[in-house]
């Protein structure tokens, strides 16, 4: 459960607002797609939710825990996969995962079985003993996903997670997102690929120029725009009006 209330953020103090008065509730048990054109404010919003940026105004709560007043408790509730996976290049894959497990206080037995399980799904067993600097883009993406899921977070946040993944890995990741939501937890991810959003999401948030212009299920969206044939047309229509 993620809640944003009146969240605004300006990068340089005089400039335009990168996100402007966002209000949203992302309920458990659902996959929520976050879509919008380049520069709409998706990454900014996700960074605010995860505590990387401080909002100028407004509050963010994760599972009812306020990011400002109880940051550590709140941060334990989510796992975050950032848009550029080029971090910790000097660590070996397994060292990185162990680092994540340690900072989230994961039980060693659980840690071992989860690593084995996910490594198998992502076909990463051999790569774990190698340094992340030797990984391909997709492999880096996979190891970051694994690190974010080790502690079984209630909320899972991903910024454009599917870029660079091979078809099998993309399928596995989508499967994992579905499982996550089916277990009654929430998934929030940003994407540009409308087909993915269409197939995967229970609800979508469309953002443009820092403002939410639609929040609801895809069926609701189609009802609102009966004239348009498919999601792409609806999206283009929405953006052009904003």
């Amino acid at each position: 459960m993620i809640s944003l209330r009146g969240v605004s953020k300006t990068y340089d103090k005089k400039g335009v607002r990168a996100v402007d008065n966002l209000n949203m509730d992302i309920a458990d048990g659902k996959i929520t797609g976050f879509i919008g054109p380049n520069g709409a404010g998706k990454t900014t919003t996700l960074k605010i939710i995860t505590g990387i940026l401080e909002p100028d105004e407004g509050t963010v709560t994760i599972d009812g825990l306020d990011m400002r007043t109880q940051p550590l408790e709140a941060k334990k509730r989510f796992g975050f996969v950032a848009d550029s996976p080029d971090s910790f290049l000097r660590l070996k894959g397994l060292e990185y995962l162990h680092f994540c497990a340690s900072i989230y206080g994961v039980d060693p037995a659980v840690e071992k079985s989860k690593i084995a399980d996910m490594a198998q799904r992502f076909d990463m067993q051999k790569a774990l003993s190698d340094k992340i600097s030797n990984y391909s883009h997709g492999m880096r993406q996979k190891i970051m996903v694994m690190g974010a899921l080790l502690h079984d977070p209630n909320v899972w946040i991903l910024d454009e997670p599917l870029t660079g993944l091979d078809p099998k890995a993309a399928f596995e990741l989508k499967e994992m997102m579905r499982e996550h939501a089916a277990a009654g937890r929430s998934v929030l991810f940003s994407t540009h690929v409308l087909e993915v959003a269409e197939k995967l999401c229970d609800q979508v948030i469309i953002i443009n120029k820092g403002r939410i212009i639609f929040l609801g299920t895809l069926d609701m969206l189609r009802e609102q725009y009966p004239a348009q044939e498919n999601l792409e047309d609806i999206f283009l229509e929405l953006i052009s009006h904003a």
């Binding site: 103090k13 995860t50 990387i52 334990k76 060292e95 900072i103 071992k112 003993s129 600097s133 030797n134």
Partner: protein
């Protein structure tokens, strides 16, 4: 050609300027103008003593040599020093800028010819070198010009010659580096290239230290004509020996001292020829070398169960952060060599002159000197001196250790990770501090302890050990906190190339100066009270140690409080 100029402009304006350390400190958008101004003023103030010294020596030596008609020796020296420095530094620079910086990934796919890429990069490096060698050598040149009563034309020619000075050595360094990388094609990995470039840096250090030794032996000559004699000697031997390496040394000197526009034209023509050869070499050598670079060696294989078991041992969040910090530092050749290595291997540098002198024959006296020093220091009465020496070494070693002073900058853009994990900033910063202080304490108090144990066995009063350790450890913590504070205040986070975080970062140098000043004052206080006034060294050491410890504790709380606030506000 047009493309090349466009590229140069872009390189200058964007990453390159930052890459070459032209911008200082914070990469955050909201730069605090007051802090930036203060920073520049501090740097300037720190450099003033050097500027005055260089200026007056240029002036005085010129005046001393003027009657002998030998004053162009100073010019020769400036041009020679500038050339050699640029040549050797240039190799390590060029390797990192031509082969390691990530903008290559963006440039290679563009419709640019390889010589356009490297020429653009060469020009940017050249301008940067003009700036750095200007900082070092211009004060001497100006002093010389005033001493030699230069005409307007000479000033103009001097400036132009100085401007062209680094170009040829850089082009030669570029040809050399491209040739080496061409030979290594298919085998060179990034780590290896960094290693090579560091070896050249160490070569510079050795060069300077042996030059220092040479000067030292020269300065033993006394008498009225000592300086003149020394300079004649310098002119005869050093310039005679190395001057041949720099074919343009004669023309450059003549252009300014005669003065002669014709010789300047020769200088410019020589440089252009060199750049031409550089471009031809680039056409053949650059692409094969840069395209075949590997990320790093090694291949993946599945781990045995035992290896996994060992790696997955349970650790606390603090322990995990500590391990991560340690590994990222130790596994990056750039980080390790530029921050920690000097602290860890300085005894080797200390021993090298001994070994050299032993090899060259006059080692007898040095060894017996050392033996006598050890004998003297193991006397019970020598305890105050031993404490002072250990503390002095600490001031020096802790100042030189750049681990805490780059702890934040080493994170780079991944620092955002620090903000979204459920580990308090205090814990994360403590881990950074622990690694920094640990390494600097090992390189000072650690070596000191070994030396003292040896001396105690030989008769030194054991009371010296706790006093020296207290002073040394407290100083290490204090310096570490100051450095971490400065790096938090002005981190360099927006880098593509690890070099930027450690080498092109002015802040740790300020931390070093602060530690030298504070440490120097404390050394002086100790010296005056114990050796001058004759107070008991245990009392003085204890009091000073407790004062230092209190300062260190204060600095720790300050840096933690500041760090928490700073990290929560830090944005990219």
């Amino acid at each position: 050609m047009r493309k090349m100029w466009a590229l140069t402009r872009v390189l200058l304006k964007s990453g390159a300027a930052q890459g070459y350390g032209m911008t200082v400190g914070a990469s955050t958008k909201k730069k605090n103008p007051v802090m930036t101004a203060v920073l520049y003023i501090v740097i300037l103030v720190c450099l003033i003593p050097y500027f005055t010294m260089a200026f007056t020596s240029g002036l005085n030596i010129t005046k001393a040599l003027h009657p002998l008609g030998q004053d162009q020796v100073v010019l020769e020296f400036i041009f020679l020093a500038g050339s050699l420095m640029t040549l050797v530094f240039g190799i390590s620079f060029i390797l990192s800028i031509f082969y390691l910086s990530t903008d290559i990934q963006t440039l290679l796919p563009l419709p640019l010819r390889s010589e356009e890429i490297v020429l653009g990069k060469l020009i940017v490096t050249w301008l940067y070198e003009v700036f750095t060698s200007g900082l070092l050598l211009l004060p001497i040149l100006i002093g010389h010009g005033i001493g030699a009563r230069w005409s307007v034309l000479q000033w103009l020619l001097g400036a132009l010659t100085f401007f062209f000075l680094p170009l040829m050595p850089l082009a030669v360094a570029g040809i050399f580096s491209m040739f080496v990388m061409f030979l290594l094609r298919g085998r060179a990995s990034r780590g290896m290239v960094m290693g090579i470039s560091t070896i050249f840096l160490l070569a510079v250090v050795m060069l300077f230290s042996s030059a220092g030794g040479y000067m030292g032996s020269m300065s033993e000559m006394t008498g009225d004509n000592a300086i003149a004699e020394m300079l004649q000697n310098l002119a005869g031997s050093v310039i005679g020996k190395y001057g041949k390496l720099i074919p343009l040394l004669g023309p450059m000197t003549k252009a300014v001292s005669q003065p002669s526009i014709l010789w300047l034209l020769v200088v410019i023509a020589g440089n252009l020829v060199c750049v031409g050869v550089f471009c031809l070499a680039a056409r053949v050598l650059y692409l094969p070398g840069v395209l075949s670079m590997k990320e790093s060696g090694g291949r993946s294989r599945a781990m045995t169960a035992a290896q996994q078991e060992k790696m997955l041992r349970r650790s606390s969040p603090f322990g995990a952060c500590l391990a991560k910090e340690w590994r990222t530092l130790m596994r990056s050749p750039v980080f390790f060599m530029n921050t920690a290595m000097i602290g860890l291997i300085w005894p080797v540098f200390f021993l090298l002159p001994l070994i050299f002198s032993a090899l060259t024959g006059d080692g007898e006296s040095l060894f017996s000197l050392l033996g006598r020093a050890m004998y003297f220091l193991s006397e019970p009465e020598a305890a105050p001196i031993v404490v002072l020496i250990i503390f002095g070494v600490t001031v020096f070693g802790a100042g030189l250790c750049m681990v805490a002073g780059t702890a934040m900058s080493r994170e780079g853009r991944s620092y955002t990770f620090m903000k979204c994990i459920p580990v308090s900033y205090r814990t994360q910063l403590s881990a950074k501090l622990a690694v920094g202080v640990g390494i600097s304490a090992f390189s000072t108090a650690g070596y000191g302890l070994i030396a003292m144990i040896y001396l105690v066995i030989r008769g030194l009063s054991p009371a010296a050990i706790p006093i020296a350790l207290l002073l040394s450890l407290a100083m290490n913590v204090l310096v570490g906190c100051v450095n971490l504070f400065l790096d938090l205040a002005f981190p360099k986070l927006n880098w593509e190339n690890e070099m930027v975080a450690v080498k092109q970062h002015f802040i740790p140098i300020i931390g070093m100066l602060i530690s030298f000043v504070v440490g120097g004052l404390l050394c002086a206080a100790y010296g005056i009270l114990v050796i001058g006034v004759g107070m008991n060294y245990i009392v003085v050491g204890l009091v000073l140690g407790l004062v230092l410890a209190a300062l260190a504790a204060g600095a720790y709380f300050l840096v933690m409080a500041f760090g928490q606030k700073r990290l929560s506000q830090l944005e990219d």
